[in-house]
Symmetry: C2
Subunit: 215 residues, 2 copies
């Protein structure tokens, strides 16, 4: 059984920006990028993991939020998704953005050049690993016990794994918001068409889902 490497529910602006400059504790997505606006389509769905009231839509967008955990056995994320720190860890107090019960519920491999001990919070264990993308993917596949591996971002990490040709499927929601400058996933989704099929699916929420899978 194939273990895929999947990007899911990754959101970029209409001009391809996934995060602005100057990411920080106060502005996790950097200058000019509001996560509330970028993720509004997801937050409106019934299956959004952070939803606290029983409502929410069950149309197209909900298929993407409820697919988030399906058959996923591990995640790989970049260090810049894990937290706003850069360079060596000055202490180990920071345990990610997600509180005591992170929404991953699997092993998570955080890419970093700077070692630190693993952290377990609820059903999620964060491991801090270095090395080439292919080697990290091998580790994550083994931890996933036959299930797929999610490539959680951020944008730099996704680009690294795309450059290494390790990504099997990508779901990118393109938001109608234009940001201008920042870290871009692409200049245009067409850049991926030599290697991937793509379904382009506009949603009534305003985002346009781009679904890529290997040729």
């Amino acid at each position: 059984m194939t273990q895929l490497l999947r990007v899911q529910n990754f959101v970029v602006s209409s001009d391809g920006v996934a995060a602005g400059e100057n990411q920080s504790l106060e502005q996790p997505f950097g200058d000019g990028v509001s996560p509330q606006r970028l993720f509004a389509w997801a937050g409106a769905t019934a299956s959004w993991p952070n939803r606290t009231d029983p409502g929410g839509s069950r149309g197209l967008d909900d298929y993407f939020t409820r697919d988030f955990t399906q058959n996923i056995g591990a995640e790989i994320m970049g260090r810049n998704k894990f937290g706003p720190q850069r360079g060596p860890w000055t202490d180990h107090e920071w345990q990610g953005w997600w509180g005591d019960e992170p929404p991953f519920h699997t092993p998570v491999f955080v890419l970093t050049h700077h070692e630190r001990p693993s952290i377990t919070l609820g059903e999620t264990t964060f491991h801090f690993v270095g090395g080439e993308p292919a080697a990290v993917l091998d580790q994550a596949r083994e931890a996933a016990q036959g299930k797929d591996v999610r490539l959680g971002g951020g944008v730099t990490t996704i680009r690294e794994f795309l450059d290494a040709d390790l990504v099997d499927t990508l779901h990118v929601a393109v938001s109608p918001i234009e940001v201008g400058s920042g870290l871009k996933l692409w200049e245009s989704p067409d850049e991926l068409l030599d290697r991937f099929h793509c379904d382009v699916v506009p949603s009534s929420s305003g985002v346009t889902h781009h679904l890529f899978w290997r040729r």
Copy 2:
């Protein structure tokens, strides 16, 4: 936690026909309705349960086939989906269309006025039950142990449960094929808009997915 009643991957022609007249062993979908043509979009996906080779698309259509079993704990189906017989069972030899390992993997409640003993095949157990839709749904919910219940069809059964206002979500794939006469789900999907929201999502495969959820 709400237990939804969900219709999934139900296919109709462009004129709303789900099954032709004269359903039989040789023509399970009746006159003029080819299941191969109606389900071609689903058969092309990577997650189609009957797929035997490793290929298949992983775009929009695949989200629907891979959602088929997600969080489903029981199915309700009409007797006409279970087999081509009508009236009292003349024997108990017929065990459904699906061979020794049916794709349901849950309890399945088959609506019939004619009693017969339950059948277990692989992970699927078929129970044969009478009574009003609401009472059957109660039985199925209990068997589903907190998960959702799939309303599997056929078209007469779906219409009965819609008339009783028991359906929470419907995914109907409208195929570009026109059939003419037969058993119709609707004259037009607009008939459901007084009670349901609807996302209409065209796929590159040629079908148009209609996703309904309660207002």
